[in-house]
């Protein structure tokens, strides 16, 4: 049998269901791969070896008892879970010292649905602290390295999830996307990542960064695998009051029937050109020509307020996060510092938070506290909320003219570790193309469209669709992916260096 870690999730599910390999064998192969490469990649913060093998054994038992008919479409397939989602009895740190040692007493809804589907959770993946960052360098436990070049960043905040998938440590991963944290890591690691429509996937048990922006979604090596995972985790959840009570878009069907004939595709004028690396722009432009060749009608569309989205985001996000992170005060869980019997509760909170949070978390808490302060609220937070209205309006106007919008996912390929760490504004620019979708709640996908000629690193194309039209992302993604595979002759990750 060929190497189990090189197979797609769809194929692995088939192999397990058909009995060519047991779920335990599939899981063990991935655990072995993690042992072999993760000291270089550092995608995982915690590997749950015993839990994963037990979950796999349960799938094998179910198959032995009921045959393949009782198994879900991803039963026995291993997955890497971003460390921002609660998993009962398994460390969940959000990449922060302040939660080190916390063992959740419950499962996030996403975690619960994965378990119920027989998906085998291998462990928890590295991330920027509380999902604040574009490089995983803000993790309190050290950065993740990009499998394409270990001296470079894997994107962020979900760099661990993307790197685990790119390094064949897991065929699937869960990420969360507040300003691009699924899509940008996908772009710079040559993988596929989707931010579903806001409210499409339950946030129950997802440690909140910015509640009005956060959305969990799938990471995979191809569009169909991502769709299969999307279908498992999506759907209404009464435990999340912002969960949408509507049918899940037919994403698997769309991924199986990629087709852009007659589809109207809009290239966002404001998300190209200046500020985009030439090789990124070149591969993006070629992919747009390919969409045309495949039968799409391509037009240029203007979204005039998108250039203000980044500024609005860096007011809204810090404001929400300064409030959300207030619960980490050392009283009920996690770290407590300086409780010597003499200090007041406020002094202990101050010491706990100052030592438990890293640089970027502190920076954003301070920024949010400022933006929400009396006297500045209207000028900053209030204005940012108005820009949010304008960006949403730009999407609405654009989707009058076209079915989907496209842009490069990130302005550059993976940069060097350390390169932007001391320049917050430069770091924030990585999300310039992905943030508009978070502000509007619309879905977005990143798909690899080649390697930049100047550095040989992956380039991602972003597809954006209207609210609850997530299936369009998969229809376009699958069509483009098939055409590129024809052109290349092999998946893009076959060209990544051997680890």
């Amino acid at each position: 049998m060929t190497d189990l870690t090189r197979m797609t999730a769809a194929r692995l599910a088939d192999v397990v269901a058909g009995g060519q390999a047991s779920a335990v064998e599939v899981t063990q192969a991935h655990l072995d791969r993690i042992t072999a490469v993760d000291h270089d990649v550092h995608a995982f913060l915690h590997v749950d070896t015993d839990g994963a093998l037990a979950a796999a054994a349960a799938v094998d038992t179910a198959r032995a008892r009921d045959g393949r008919s009782g198994l879900g479409p991803l039963a026995g397939v291993p997955l890497a879970l971003k460390d921002v989602l609660a998993m009962e009895g398994v460390p969940t740190t959000c990449g922060s010292r302040i939660l080190e040692g916390w063992l959740p007493a419950y499962d996030a809804t996403v975690t619960r649905r994965l378990k119920d589907a027989g998906v085998v959770i291998l462990g928890k993946t590295n991330m920027d602290e509380f999902a604040m960052g574009s490089s995983t360098e803000h993790s309190a436990f050290g950065p993740t390295h990009n499998p394409w070049d270990l001296s470079r960043i894997p994107g962020g905040s979900g760099g661990g999830s993307a790197a685990a998938v790119a390094a064949f440590e897991a065929p699937l991963a869960i990420g969360t996307d507040t300003g691009g944290s699924i899509r940008q890591p996908a772009a710079v690691t040559g993988t596929v990542g989707i931010k579903p429509t806001y409210g499409g996937v339950s946030r129950y048990g997802l440690v909140a960064l910015a509640s009005s922006l956060d959305q969990a979604g799938p990471c995979a090596r191809n569009v169909l695998d991502a769709a299969l995972l999307h279908a498992v985790i999506a759907g209404h959840d009464p435990l999340d009051s912002t969960s949408i009570d509507r049918p899940v878009p037919a994403v698997v069907e769309a991924a199986r029937h990629g087709d852009v004939r007659g589809m109207r595709v809009g290239v966002v004028r404001e998300l190209t050109g200046d500020g985009y690396q030439p090789g990124v722009q070149q591969r993006f432009d070629e992919a747009v020509v390919l969409l045309q060749e495949l039968g799409a009608q391509v037009v240029e569309v203007s979204c005039p307020h998108f250039p203000y989205a980044l500024a609005a985001y860096y007011l809204i996000l810090p404001s929400e996060c300064s409030s959300n992170l207030a619960k980490f005060d050392g009283m009920r869980f996690g770290l407590r510092v300086g409780d010597d019997g003499t200090r007041s509760v406020e002094e202990v909170m101050g010491r706990t938070r100052a030592s438990g949070f890293g640089e970027e978390a502190i920076r954003r808490i301070m920024l949010g506290t400022y933006a929400l302060s009396a006297g500045y609220y209207d000028a900053f937070y209030g204005s940012a909320q108005k820009v949010r209205t304008l960006v949403t309006g730009d999407f609405a106007a654009a989707f009058e003219q076209v079915d989907v919008l496209v842009s490069p996912t990130a302005p550059t390929t993976a940069f060097k570790l350390g390169e932007k760490l001391d320049d917050p504004l430069a770091m924030y620019l990585n999300d310039v193309a992905t943030i508009p979708a978070n502000l509007a709640g619309t879905p977005g996908l990143s798909l690899p469209v080649g390697l930049a000629p100047e550095d040989g690193l992956p380039v991602g194309l972003q597809v954006m669709a209207p609210v609850l039209a997530d299936d369009r992302l998969y229809r376009v993604g699958a069509a483009l992916e098939a055409a590129l595979l024809d052109r290349w002759g092999a998946p893009i990750l076959d060209g990544a260096p051997t680890l």
């Binding site: 007041s344 100052a354 502190i362 400022y370 302060s373 900053f380 940012a384 909320q385 108005k386 304008l390």
Partner: protein, 99 residues
């Protein structure tokens, strides 16, 4: 836009319950000034006639059925607590001695 004074940064840190060193506060004052100058561009287009958006979904008053569901046991709820006493979270003193 106003420059951010070291006193103002110290006040924000107190509000946010962050006991930071003078050094760190000084560094933050410089960084916040740059970031705030950059994000202040939102005021260029945020005119009075535009309604603010606080949330992407137009949802109001989402209710669940009023039925008893599962919940954490006392032991589970206290499992991760830094300090526990008599089935409760033990916290540092919350009132001054003299009050």
């Amino acid at each position: 836009m106003p420059a951010i004074s070291p006193e103002q940064v110290a006040h924000l840190a107190a509000l946010a319950r962050l006991d930071l060193s003078e050094d760190h506060l000084g560094r933050l004052a410089a960084e916040l000034e740059i970031i705030i100058a950059s994000v202040a561009t939102v005021s260029q287009v945020a005119t009075e006639d535009i309604a603010p958006t606080s949330h992407p979904l137009p949802l109001t008053n989402v209710f669940r059925l009023d039925v008893v569901g599962g919940s954490l046991t006392v032991e589970q709820a206290l499992m991760a607590a830094p300090a526990v006493e008599s089935d409760r979270f033990r916290v540092p003193r919350i009132l001054d001695e003299e009050s």
